[in-house]
Symmetry: C2
């Protein structure tokens, strides 16, 4: 993971080769392989993803996966970790950004789920491919749980402050957080299965409308006045 992040940095700011080339190449290759894996899972599913296809898509030779990762299994783990931390980086960047109002911070977490890089068709396919296997591979579940838990805690913290601030009502932060996260997972599934019928923007608005039902004062203004779903 750490190595891979270094590679992303490297790629983004134009290959500033400070470390020895060999070490850096290593992380670049790993990233290449992970991205090819994402492409393959999206195109062929987990079942249809073979190392031959992955390396072909990456433009590398067959033996490299077992050189850079111990096994196909490890490559899959790192791929899941990659999309997971990509999302974590996204929402953490969101809540650290300019506007310090709690309501906006919470919206930033919500919005992170609908960022084009995070919920592209490819990434959704990868998430659900791993969900499907997670029931039996505890390592996948552990990776997903880690990132879910961290975000859930942050959500609850923000909602708790919102609730005490504005309309205190009987709003239960846990209920709000769990409900919205479940709703978003379901919308993700819709976008995956029916990409023609469900867009990112529309789904984001759908979440906001639910949020407005829960916190009219805080979020009522974030939804369009007219109420057509489509």
């Amino acid at each position: 993971m750490e190595i891979v992040k270094a590679a992303i940095g490297g790629l983004e700011n134009g290959l500033t080769a400070q470390k020895t080339r060999r070490t850096e190449d290593k992380s670049v290759r790993q990233l290449q392989l992970i991205e090819a894996t994402i492409d393959c899972i999206a195109k062929y599913g987990i079942v249809g993803t073979t190392l031959a296809k992955v390396t072909e898509v990456a433009g590398l030779s067959l033996g490299l996966v077992n050189f850079h990762f111990a096994s196909k299994e490890r490559l899959f783990e790192e791929t899941l970790r990659f999309v997971a931390s990509e999302h974590r980086d996204q929402w953490q960047k969101g809540i650290r950004a300019k506007v310090p109002r709690d309501a906006d911070r919470f919206l930033a977490i919500i919005d992170s789920f609908f960022h084009p890089r995070i919920c592209s068709r490819k990434k959704l396919a990868v998430w659900f491919a791993f969900f499907g296997e997670a029931a039996n591979r505890s390592i996948y579940r552990a990776i997903v749980e880690d990132i879910d838990e961290e975000r859930h805690q942050e959500s609850m913290r923000l909602i708790r402050r919102l609730a005490s601030e504005g309309e205190a009502a009987g709003i239960d932060p846990k209920f709000v957080s769990l409900t919205l996260e479940a709703l978003i997972d379901g919308l993700w599934l819709n976008m995956l299965l029916y990409p023609e019928d469900f867009s990112r923007e529309q789904s984001k608005m759908q979440v906001r409308r639910v949020l407005a039902l829960m916190f009219p004062c805080h979020f009522g203004h974030t939804i369009p006045k007219t109420d057509g779903t489509t």
Copy 2:
């Protein structure tokens, strides 16, 4: 599918052999194989489900799958169709039952998602295993879409009547139906990934609380007065 349904009937009312034994045996075997497939997918995932394991679990010989179904692929299709129609039967039974109030009918659809037979750990594992593959296998998506669409139409019909009946408000049936279905899919995922932390009953209540936010008059009474989430 039809053959399989006949077999269920046969099993349930004690093997009333009206047809020739051979034909009936055939459908019994198919059902056996489908149930073994469900067990295997739940235990080993789609990737780890082999025909050797399926037939072993079913207590039958290896060659039978290719005899009763054309291929492993077809067996998988029929398995998905089986859990799909099991759910359809469940909610259709629910809305046909005694109480003819629309609100109760709608609740019956919601509740069908949380029936022990429908959202057992095994069945959830099967659903998400297929969702994971659905992005690439259009046949899976078609099967899921069929059943989703039918239920969605029925839900909207009921909600529309509810909305006109009671608090007409600006409630949009499509929004309500899509939101609740997405929420439920997300809760299913929670139950699959974290069975220790999410129960059927608790999840059902979570849906009702959201429903009560949308239709206080119709569904406010269906949630417990105290508001602890756990």
